[in-house]
């Protein structure tokens, strides 16, 4: 099934306690595409790049079945650039430099060839641009997933509230869910956020896993404990790419299938953090993914006998 992916394609310069990446290709839509194409083809990419974005990176995506009609190249400008340094805990980071460049006047345009897509993944971007994409679609997709961050809650809350009313699934981290809802308890936060529009809420907790809330149901997928986290950049986007890719491939947007989508997203994210940038994502095979899914099953598998029924989970 066809998926539109919207987000940045950019350059990052990353420092971790283990080394420096130098300038490498990154951006939310880059990670989303590398992840989703493990499960689905003809991904309809929407982004903006400058004259400096490497053609071979676009070729590599095209080879994976990513359509690039919606990726605008601005010939006289430079690509978005972000530089950051991770702390020893690999959860917190300092931004060292941000150069908006092409992103400053980004106005995403949906090509005619993208119309009719059944899935829409809105990567983290200015909420106005996310809304503009929704408004350009002649048919509402079957499922709209939106990723956002605290920065937009601080600076563009009323735009964010408007776009939230239009989406089915919101993805944020735990502190963002708390900020957005004004509730400390994630159970209460999920109730508040469902009133704001999204009927499904995915809370990403990094090394602590991810939660899925829908109505009064909740699913908790732990994260695989990793020997080494080399570079967490893009892990959230990779998770989201795996999530939407699995849903689109299976054409099933039930709560039950979203559980599997979360586990697939987690498995992909666990690869992403093993090397700088997208390099690990370019290496992995279907067998690698299956192996990690099996590790995940082992991680959470248990048998319990309850009084009135023997339950295997």
């Amino acid at each position: 099934m066809s998926v539109i992916v919207v987000g940045t394609m950019a350059f990052d310069a990353i420092e971790t306690p283990f080394g420096k990446s130098g300038q490498i290709v990154g951006g939310s839509a880059t990670y989303l595409a590398w992840a989703a194409t493990n499960f689905v083809h003809n991904l309809k990419q929407v982004s903006v790049i400058g004259n400096d974005f490497p053609q071979e990176e676009l070729d590599a995506l095209a080879k994976r079945g990513v359509m690039l009609d919606g990726v605008e190249r601005k010939k006289d400008e430079k690509s978005f650039f972000w530089a950051g340094r991770y702390h020893l805990d690999m959860n917190t980071r300092d931004t060292l430099d941000t150069q908006l460049n092409v992103l400053a006047n980004f106005d995403p345009k949906i090509p005619d060839s993208y119309q009719g897509a059944e899935f829409l993944m809105l990567g983290n971007l200015m909420p106005k641009l996310q809304m503009s994409v929704i408004n350009q679609l002649k048919t509402r997709p079957k499922l709209i997933v939106l990723d956002t961050m605290n920065f937009w809650m601080d600076t563009a809350m009323s735009d964010l509230e408007k776009v939230l009313q239009q989406v089915d699934v919101l993805m944020v981290n735990d502190s963002e869910a708390r900020q957005l809802s004004g509730q400390f308890s994630l159970v209460k936060a999920a109730k508040e956020i469902q009133k704001m529009g999204p009927k499904f809420l995915v809370i990403k907790k990094g090394e602590h896993g991810a939660l899925l809330f829908h109505e009064n149901k909740v699913f908790y997928a732990p994260a695989l404990p990793l020997e080494d986290v080399f570079d967490p950049t893009g892990a959230g986007d990779t998770f989201a790419g795996g999530f939407i890719g699995h849903l689109a491939a299976t054409k099933d947007i039930s709560f039950e299938n979203m559980k599997t989508a979360i586990i697939k997203g987690s498995a992909l994210a666990s690869f992403c953090v093993e090397k700088f940038g997208t390099s690990r994502m370019k290496e992995i095979t279907q067998n690698d993914i299956e192996d990690r899914m099996r590790q995940f099953v082992d991680l959470v598998n248990f048998d319990i006998e309850l009084a009135n029924s023997a339950v295997t989970s």
Copy 2:
């Protein structure tokens, strides 16, 4: 199966964003006993109390099948007292007051009637005292579980290292596992800690659940997302009490059964935090526990089809 439990029986005065408890009964051995007696009887309690510790609290424990021969009452002294205030996140807290009182010269004595116990739960205490208990036992228990904290790593590391060599299961939180091992990755921390003695490591992560490590195996039990956390005091001890209680009741110390023990411990801890002190623990029934176990199964239950086998977990 018989279990010896060693720890404090004390007074707490707790402040949370939701209220103040006033002076109430607490202490690690108190929580351990209330939790473990849901699964096992004839718990052999070892602690020290002052003249101020209420007889009705001892009577209530005796009624649940807790043996109190090893609880020494010092007639001219006061019980250990701790006062603390939780921050809004309910994970961090400030100590407002600590009065060691009877704990200053605590020298735990194992009554003859306790000899031959097959399980030993060493609650968080000065490592020298934990070692003294082990040394007093004429037959080594089948399983020794030790709880400790960062304070002893800072102030009594060489004693802690000695007692760690004697135990089977270590319980700490994630930051303590990192401090003890000098490793940030919990996978690496678990390997280092297993070299120090304990063949099993339980890492408590509060609202993020708990991990069990043994050899190259790992199990991750998420915590139930709770609508309200009223008072986290004693949750870790309650978890430990449920853990040892289940193992002792089933007489099975396999990795597989420890998974169930962790889930039972988590279920009990989720009750503990609903009210101040032990009050919620005094109310719950076997049906309440079964209900919560069922919620836990629902929380983590998923179906995944892997390439070579359909796996239900």
